[in-house]
Symmetry: C2
Subunit: 364 residues, 2 copies
DNA sequence: GCCTGATGCTCAAACGTTTCAGCACTTCCT
DNA sequence: AGGAAGTGCTGAAACGTTTGAGCATCAGGC
């Protein structure tokens, strides 16, 4: 029907169709019969613009499908409306987990609610990493950043906090008291998981496979395990194997615990991936889970539901984390100088088959 | 040296530290002693700028840590350097899969290489969906978009293609011949999986649990299955149960096939999630996999590695898909009028335990 | 000596937005 | 009547970038 001239010198009005020029303030202004400034102020609900004009402007804007040009707005404002989500490559073990996706879903819903957009920087390549997120922030493409990293003393993290740009960290960063962070109560989560084995299943000889202790997450989960064990009124025996959150580390850790502790009754792994590794090791030694050795994981990002037996685990509310972090970030951006806070979200124990036979949804 | 008065009134020179003003072309210009235009042209390697000036400018830019303001550049250019990744909520089953993360990794590496950034729009909420990605594109925050959707006739998809904005679709869209797409050869993948059951394991009575047939992906996988079955020289019996890619649909589909086909020897599910559901159903009926019924899934996004037995599946190269789609998109953006092409990436059969005992990496 | 062409830069304008000062007009108060 | 205050808008400027036109300067060819 309508000839498509693309850049179009000939046709005048193009109500719709491919290649039509974007609607600007000027377009609305000429429709309504006021200046672009008035349109801008009307849309911002400025008190000095008359009611009638505001309504006319809003109607025209809706009619024409006006959406403010983000570049123009950002340039004028001196900062972008976008927020960046940075995943430094130190969080490699995060890739392949639904964790990050859940985080993103949370962040994007908050961003949608704030009429903002989400820019992401995942950096699989070590070499380009600094350049990539650095470029995003230095180019002022984002008005703030959410950093999903796990390593303590990651130099990137403190550098970013130091830039003065609004930044929210995901996780606990006790050594960065000046930073705003949103994390989960891993100590309580690990204590709940361990307490479940102790109290509900009456087990007393429990080994823990921890993550790398440069990660606060790994430290906290170990701390929760230790606290629960030492607070048990009856005599307990605890063991520790240090892993790196990988399946292989789970196998190795389980082997180490089995060889080192006589009468091992349960293994609490610091994440589901390692619990799965431990499961494989136990199975290869002919040990049954949970009859011979009970098993508990951590994260509940999808792995734990699929194994046989299904894994008892501790759910980390990733989507909530992302949402909270984004909300916090928008608060920082708006207030320019928000108070420094460290939010800690609660966790939830998810009992499944691998710790014993109670409360297991049975297969029909 | 040069006093930076900008935001703070007290301190004079801040070579570094929080709150320092961003470096602009003007800053470099005043250091080098030329006009901002000359700096811009020098950095763009314009032939009319002298060698000496170029070198001085580049040195100063490096020294000051100059990064072009993205808003300024986008405003001037009339389009952003970012690309958007849109995940319409029709692709719900994608959430929670590492698929999307892998896709993102591929897209971001390409974007890094092109000095671009990635904007993402995941829209868990039906109501805000149109508004969210619409806003991104209408605000010209992105110079192009990659759409990861699955449903045929998703109105969003054709609308986006019609905007005239450079768009690359992920998946096969035979009904949108004017659109650029990057997909996988699902027909060949499904045929390979089915052929594996037929030729390598000698099975002849095979049921397929398909996805919803509004999805091209589901159609293609069914088509591959059918083709392989009918091309088999010996007499075969095929069955079909239509599912929706969910675990429950896998259970239901398996039940339907088991009840409907006597002597069922194998089930080929259109994704791993449904294969897992089928596994649960088989197990609850006391049937062993693979001894009584062989099982094959599709996707290899993580599920298949974890089940017991591990699932034979077909690997979808998600990271590659993302990378290719981004490369294609940058091609479109640069060329302004690239040719319409439909790339199809090859797939790979991943034999594991659930189809039989050959070539299984045994547990040590 | 003058034209031609090349070289190396500057200037101005423009992208779309927001904001601030200011103008014109009305209304109210004394 | 005359000033003050309020109302509703306009015009200009600015954010940082890119680019085409234009202005010098200089080398070489006749």
């Amino acid at each position: 029907m309508t000839p498509v001239e693309q850049v179009n010198k000939t046709s005048k009005a193009q109500p719709s169709g491919p290649g039509r020029a974007p609607v600007t303030l000027r377009d609305i202004a000429s429709v309504v019969g006021v200046s672009p400034s008035a349109v801008s102020m009307a849309l911002a609900d400025h008190p000095r613009i008359g009611r009638a004009t505001k309504e006319a402007v809003r109607a025209a804007a809706r009619e024409l499908g006006y959406v403010a040009n983000s570049a123009g707005r950002a340039l004028r404002a001196g900062r972008s409306t976008s927020i960046a989500v940075v995943v430094p490559n130190t969080a490699q073990h995060v890739f392949g987990h639904p964790y990050f996706m859940q985080l993103l879903v949370g962040v994007t819903s908050s961003a949608n609610a704030h009429d903002s957009t989400v820019l992401i920087s995942t950096n699989p390549d070590q070499h380009h990493e600094v350049a990539a997120y650095d470029r995003i922030l230095r180019s002022q493409a984002a008005g703030g950043a959410i950093i999903a990293s796990a390593a303590i003393n990651d130099p990137n993290v403190s550098r970013m906090v130091d830039t003065g740009l609004p930044v929210v960290l995901i996780g606990r960063y006790p050594h960065l008291p000046q930073a705003v962070s949103v994390g989960v109560d891993d100590v309580a989560g690990a204590a709940a998981a361990t307490g479940h084995l102790l109290s509900d299943h009456g087990l007393r000889r429990i080994g823990h496979i921890s993550g790398p202790l440069e990660h606060q997450t790994a430290l906290d989960r170990y701390e929760g395990f230790r606290a629960a064990m030492t607070q048990c009124p009856e005599p307990c025996v605890q063991g520790l194997a240090i892993g790196d959150f990988s399946e292989q580390a789970g196998r190795d850790g389980a082997a180490q615990l089995l060889d080192g502790m006589s009468g091992l009754q349960a293994i609490f792994a610091a994440n589901d991936e390692m619990a799965y590794g431990a499961l494989l090791e136990l199975r290869s030694r002919g040990l049954r889970v949970p009859q011979d050795v009970a098993l508990v994981g951590y994260d509940d990002f999808g792995v734990s539901r699929l194994t046989t037996p299904t894994l008892t685990t501790v759910r980390v509310p990733a989507e909530d984390l992302g949402w909270q972090a984004a909300e916090r970030l928008f608060g920082l951006i708006d207030a320019a100088a928000g108070e420094v806070t460290h939010s800690v979200l609660p966790i939830e124990l998810v009992p499944r088959e691998s710790c014993g036979t109670h409360s297991v949804p049975s297969v029909p």
